[in-house]
């Protein structure tokens, strides 16, 4: 290969690099996925212990709003456990992804990450609101399937703006969501699978694929 050809090759690889870097957020770390999954599993384990293993959502809902009025200790526990899972998962997710971006010399907060978050948020917020509406109408059983379905669709939507692998995670979440709609009452276990196990498996695969 002549020097000139090497120059051309260098040009082409730089072009490809810029095209990818400017249209997709590529700093997503596999460790973020693993930590999100672990947070979900710990939160689920604590919840399982708190309700003595009676994790059927109809039973829990019945406990929450029985005729004698709301069960405030249980309600408070669910709110705190949920908030802790959410915040720790987001914090660890941001931490590992920021670390990876720094290592690669890339920015974390730029056009590509903003686009990624907006496109992740649209189906997620719609799904979240729908779940609140279903709680309002008392159709408790369909809340777990909907969370998984909308999360899966959010991931598929976001996959156009980041590593394409997210798409497969999204497809699996949708599959789990549909299955959990068949097996109503087992929402807790589908949550453990979808938000815990799948994140850990996916994060591990991503880590070895891109970061080793």
């Amino acid at each position: 290969m002549t020097q000139e050809q090497r120059d051309h090759l260098q040009d082409l690889s730089e072009i490809r690099n810029l095209m990818q870097r400017s249209s997709r957020f590529i700093s997503l770390s596999g460790l973020s996925g693993i930590s999100v999954g672990i947070c979900a599993l710990i939160g689920a384990a604590v919840a399982y212990w708190f309700v003595d293993g009676n994790v059927n959502e109809y039973y829990v809902a019945g406990q929450l709003f029985s005729r004698g009025g709301a069960n405030y200790p249980l309600l408070t526990f669910i709110a705190i456990d949920g908030a802790l899972i959410l915040f720790s998962a987001i914090a660890f997710g941001i931490f590992f992804t920021t670390r990876k971006a720094r290592k690669d010399g890339l920015k974390v907060w730029d056009l590509s990450s903003q686009r990624l978050l907006i496109n992740l948020a649209i189906p997620l917020v719609a799904g979240g609101l729908l779940c609140l509406i279903m709680l309002y109408h008392g159709t408790i059983g369909y809340v777990p399937p909907m969370t998984l379905l909308f999360y899966g669709m959010a991931l598929i939507n976001a996959s156009k703006y980041t590593l394409n692998d997210i798409r497969y995670l999204g497809l699996l979440e949708i599959l789990l969501g549909l299955l959990s709609a068949v097996f109503l009452g087992y929402g807790f276990y589908f949550w453990v699978l979808g938000f815990g196990i799948l994140h850990i498996v996916y994060g591990t695969v991503m880590y070895f694929k891109y970061e080793r």
């Binding site: 290969m1 050809q5 051309h8 090759l9 072009i15 810029l18 095209m19 400017s22 249209s23 920015k107």
Partner: protein
């Protein structure tokens, strides 16, 4: 503008211009500062390359006001897109060629 033998476009001889075109090919529009961060160049340097590409109608420049600030955004034109694709084809051919 095209080199008849290699098919390479002289307008893309500079790395920075190649960079500007690469980013614009995959983004509908992009503003000055994002482009600057992406390419890691100075204001003046980027501005001069942008105006060179604008002069030959490879990129379109849109200025608008957001409040009191001007916001300038850039997009690739159909001619620019075609020219860039031909340039890429020529590069590829040269690399694959006689090695």
């Amino acid at each position: 503008m095209k080199d008849l033998i290699s098919g390479l476009n002289k307008a893309f001889e500079s790395r920075i211009r190649l960079g500007i075109m690469s980013v614009l090919m995959v983004n509908e529009t992009i503003d000055f500062n994002t482009l600057k961060d992406m390419l890691n160049v100075s204001d003046g340097n980027l501005a001069s390359h942008i105006s060179a590409l604008e002069k030959i109608s490879y990129i379109k420049v849109t200025k608008q006001f957001i409040g009191k600030k001007t916001n300038t955004s850039y997009a690739v034109s159909p001619i620019g897109k075609k020219a860039f694709q031909e340039h890429l084809d020529a590069l590829e051919k040269l690399i694959k060629g006689n090695d």
